[in-house]
């Protein structure tokens, strides 16, 4: 009898563990070239793509061309049981994976366990972050996205199954020196706490292609207005309109560039919770104020958070569409109900956008748990508090983006949270954390997840720190001083004022290059800021050997240094390697191909680790052989629509140079109707080595804002 039960149990166990959970090729539908989707169980209505309202860039995906399904479908296992969905994707030996959102300390995600949960970053890469995007890419050239608005638990190569054909050898810890506390795992496993989910697979062939396909499927990366790439300053909380105007004048007088300025909570009549209305004592005449600023060439960005005060004029209207719990006494709109977003947008439009406000800083949509609504909160849509938490940043970005699109006016702002599918939103993530080193790692990771991140400058203990942070932020999606609390200005540290100005102006000079790189983000999916592992010439193996050779004295160094998380690519050609406070020298990993110093054009190295000692005044930047970097004059405000600007085109090294320069009006959404130009820039040498550059015409009926062109061949023989 006992044996019979045992046998039955064995059989049912085996059935339970293996019943039809491997995916079939037929279950994967190719929804766009190189993009496959599978629906497991009963997917929930509110998912990330639906919250973001993605419109895949089929054109862009088509241009990337067809590709085979990049994994063996039978190695992907999916199962729904007990109300949860279990996903398993294969990992090969030594396969590396990247992504899972905006991590701050780690680039390689294999071996990590994360619970993806929108939150303010708390100092540990555990899945709680501003954009915990359930997307990863592999160096084997594919990407996986789990389209769920739930807190997903991710085992990124940690679990080992007893029935795995690749199960690691069992070892005796008592006597075997090769015993390890974390035996090799052959899978990424993900727990979706819902009875179903949509999964997407993105083809390569390269890791960058997989990222591109993900971004294009999300609608393509955002294309900011040209002014968005200029410099921005955020003023102290209780500044008045007069103080803001004075601050703007001070920038002009001191010769510091400024394109937009950010007002903090004090512009509102009440904040935390918010009224979304002007404070009449500090801002007695908003339309006049906005106009005065416009006359100075400066746009305005407004801070807000989404928690609504009972004193707001639209409070009674929004109340039925709010959740059970309050945040700082404010009600929480259920933005998964379209009418809730409409009510907010009506107020924002009427009071602010219609008088010329250019964008928003949307605060506190992320966390911490102790501030936001609890997971036990109920929302009138019936969506869970967890789902609302995971998608709130997407909804906030979408509703404001849609408003500006309706006005055919681009915006560029700040958000504290985002998620998968948000690549097309013109928002940059920021936070309250302030490690310069980790800010750079976040910048690298943003490029794997379809989000943008600014390593903002806030305050500093020393002029050195101020300058080092400032140099970094000038090579990021948003060149910003966030002085709402500190009141610092670019010139607050006189000992480095001229160096700070030099980089603020260099940022302005780089706008043609940066703008083109953002256009590639939009049209081709290529992230404008990205990690070295996405760089085609980055041959990790050989560099690791180099690093190991250098590290004989530190046997533990190897594991750490395999992650290159302190240097990154700005667009196609610029390798940026920031220094941090206290450093006078650092190592830079140069990928394959020759590299040149950005400032001098001198040869720097090739597929090697070099040591640089740039001095405090410089952030090391290296340029690829054959690189073309189109720059403009160091103006204080970015060119407005139709305004001509001259180009200085720099060329480095000796390889044939090629660049595609993007142009449009820089302000409207007309580019979505094809009103833009790609101009080809080429540099080549004749038989005697004399260099010549050419730039193609904009094309008939295409925007053409380029005035004079000057050529600078940076590398002398």
């Amino acid at each position: 009898m006992k044996n019979t039960i045992l046998i039955l149990l064995v059989i049912s166990t085996l059935l339970f563990l293996t019943t039809s959970i491997q995916s079939q090729t037929s279950e994967w539908n190719e929804v766009a070239p190189g993009v496959w989707k599978m629906a497991q169980g009963t997917p929930e209505k509110l998912d990330l793509f639906s919250a973001a309202g993605i419109k895949p860039s089929i054109d862009g995906l088509a241009k990337l061309g067809p590709a085979p399904f990049p994994l063996s479908p039978d190695k992907i296992e999916v199962q729904t049981a007990n109300g949860s969905t279990f996903l398993r994707f294969p990992l090969e030996m030594e396969e590396r994976i990247f992504g899972f959102g905006l991590n701050f300390k780690t680039v390689y995600q294999r071996g990590r366990i994360l619970q993806l949960h929108v939150d303010h970053y708390g100092g540990a890469d555990n899945g709680r972050t501003h954009a915990p995007v359930p997307f990863y890419v592999s160096d084997r050239g594919y990407g996986v996205f789990v389209n769920s608005s739930r807190y997903l638990t991710v085992y990124a190569g940690t679990g080992v199954r007893k029935d795995s054909p690749d199960a690691p050898e069992e070892r005796d810890r008592n006597t075997d020196s090769k015993w390890t506390s974390q035996p090799q795992s052959d899978a990424v496993e993900i727990l979706v706490p819902a009875p179903g989910v949509e999964i997407y697979v993105f083809a390569g062939p390269t890791i960058l292609d997989a990222v591109r396909r993900f971004n294009l499927y999300s609608g393509g990366g955002c294309l900011p207005p040209r002014w968005g790439l200029g410099f921005t300053q955020r003023v102290p909380t209780l500044y008045t309109s007069e103080q803001v105007i004075n601050e703007s004048r001070a920038f002009e007088e001191r010769g510091f560039p400024l394109d937009f300025i950010g007002l903090e909570p004090g512009w509102q009549s009440r904040s935390y919770p918010c009224t979304l209305e002007w404070d009449s004592s500090r801002f007695p005449n908003p339309p006049e104020f906005v106009k005065a600023m416009k006359d100075l060439g400066i746009r305005l960005n407004l801070w807000t958070n989404p928690y609504i005060s009972s004193k707001a004029s639209f409070y009674k209207e929004i109340l039925p569409f709010t959740g059970s719990h309050t945040v700082w006494g404010g009600v929480v709109p259920d933005l998964s109900i379209p009418r809730a977003a409409e009510i907010l947008i009506e107020q924002i439009d009427k009071s602010q956008v219609s008088i010329g406000i250019s964008g928003y800083k949307i605060d506190e949509s992320d966390g911490y748990d102790r501030w936001l609504w609890p997971d036990v909160a109920l929302f009138p849509s019936g969506n869970t508090a967890e789902q609302i938490r995971q998608t709130y940043g997407l909804f906030l970005q979408k509703m404001t983006t849609d408003l500006f699109r309706k006005k055919n006016q681009r915006t560029y702002g700040l958000t504290r949270s985002s998620n998968g599918g948000g690549a097309s939103f013109p928002y940059v993530i920021y936070n309250d954390y302030y490690s310069h080193e980790d800010f750079i790692t976040a910048l690298i990771n943003s490029g794997y997840s379809g989000v943008l991140w600014t390593p903002e400058v806030r305050s500093s203990k020393t002029g050195e720190e101020w300058l080092r942070r400032f140099q970094s932020v000038c090579f990021s999606p948003m060149a910003m001083i966030n002085a709402w609390s500190s009141g610092t200005k670019p010139w607050s540290f006189p000992e480095v004022e001229s160096e700070v100005k030099e980089y603020a102006l260099l940022r302005m000079q780089l706008i043609p290059y940066l703008y083109s790189e953002f256009a590639k983000y939009h049209f081709e999916g290529t992230p404008p800021f990205r990690g070295m592992n996405l760089e085609p010439g980055f041959d990790l193996k050989s560099i690791e050997e180099t690093l190991n050779t250098d590290l004989n004295e530190d046997p533990y160094g190897e594991a750490v240094l395999k992650e290159i998380k302190d240097q990154y690519m700005t667009g196609e050609y610029l390798l940026v390697a920031p220094l941090f406070t206290g450093q006078t020298t650092r190592e830079v990993v140069l990928p394959g191909g020759k590299w040149f110093d950005f400032y001098s054009g001198r040869y720097a190295g090739e597929q090697e680790v070099i040591k640089v000692t740039p001095g405090l005044g410089k952030i090391p930047v290296f340029v690829k052989d054959g690189a073309i970097v189109p720059m403009m004059k160091p103006v204080l405000h970015s060119p407005s629509a139709g305004q001509k600007y001259d180009l200085e085109i720099r060329y480095y090294g000796s390889a044939p140079g090629f660049y595609r320069l993007y142009d449009d009006d820089g302000e409207t959404f007309d580019y979505e109707k094809g009103i833009y130009s790609w101009r080809e820039i080429k540099v080549s040498a004749d038989r005697k080595g004399k260099l010549t550059g050419t730039i193609s015409k904009a094309g008939k009926g295409k925007p053409d804002n380029i005035g004079q062109v000057t050529w600078r061949f940076m590398t002398s023989k």
Copy 2:
């Protein structure tokens, strides 16, 4: 049309948020005196109480007497929606709550958000700990237990509902200096990720009564064997039987007490994963070895973890009852299937317990996530990986406890995890963390959650640290040096060897007192080690004022010092206030009533904060007025069953003294059949102030091991 939809939405919203979620008196069933249960939705089969197999001590609960339901049922709200269950319990203004398991840094839990999750403690009180017990008590005199084996998210007074009658006033952060980032909440809210759950409420009237009722309902606290309260040493991993015998002799020769010794992984033929079989090279003749140790008066405790090697003799037998994933290559028995536990117990009995092994150290049943099975693992019982994680420590304790009970032989061991309902298991929690300060806070918190904790001594940088840690561990449930890795001995720091010996022997002297206090844990539910907030004379308000007065120079000190987390009660009478490395002086909060120095009997203070400078050789211990502390001689091994021991009864202060001394055979479960004695000790003064002590007889047919009685009246006039 739009308006109609709006109205419908408003109505459905209101219905959704208020539909019959308040509990009714009728739904609460009094399952024992002062204990109520309610079943919400469809509770899951595997819960904490069922895993622990609790047998409520109805006798003990009856003695505590009847009590009214301690809350307004209509202020408790419960609801099941979307597959989850939402619980809400009221909180009054300034109400304090304690518990939620083995926290290491905080005593007051109000204002905290926790996800209760069995794990190795990771340095932050976030719910991930060795015993994340879903039980809290309030200083308003009641307790609440959520009988769920899920990861519960607890908002312990953080969420604010918009419809709360006590909702805090909305404030404008721009201008109102009273604005706070965490407005007052009026509820504890708990998310149970399951479609139902059992909830229990425990009456007071005091906070300690609520704790007692919880412990008694769990079966009463454990009563260790008398030898369990003696000293224990754990030897290095690869020690042989000969080395263990030599180590035991060294203790004897040097005059250090030793009751049991712990063997680490090397006793097994393979470990991590384990065979649960002796290693024949290091332990060629286990029965002989166990007997040799017994002859030395030393019992043996064996390390193990529950992950089974493919080389184990019973591997094939256990295999069908294991989960989908391995831990260090070992299979994971599904202990919610009785047969799985039986197979393990058969091996343990045959190979170890039957030859005289006295207990176990059950390792790695807690975490970290990167080591244990993932939440995506599947188990043959159909219970989820989450449920197995939350209950694994309970199952492991239960199966071994049951084995020893079957042999009518008490055990006392170590476990790395436990949970609600485990109070009766004779296991002490330990971990790999090593902050002396936090170890003391954990000792305090253990008393709120029905678990035991040892602030074990492992290694130390200095003699000072060694002695300070040693002093603390002697006033804890298990006086242990855990030297598996360090190889330290009590005499490893010669400069403090005599002081260490003094405390090791003091521990032995205190056994009659400690044993009686554990008997009160078992029969009356009173935790033997507990925080000051459970002390009747501890008038927090007045002490807070005192503390504030002392803290004028540190305006932020107040919030921290309100938590008294560095002193605790050992049993009824001893207040222990450890010093930490680097300290020469510290403050001690004395509750109401007179207190006396344990060592000298001198008056120390009353309802005040005193400063003490005890010197390195002393750990401050204070004794209540009228305290009676029965002690025995400083022997090296605790008395065995039937062995007589002399008593020295100490008396402090001048109030009438009363103590109930417990006695039984100290080794078997015969006390469960009533074979034990409570003897009354009294001290009183005659008209001239001359003190006289009396001790009652054991009673006919009751155990009587007490030899000569000496009286020491410690406080001179």
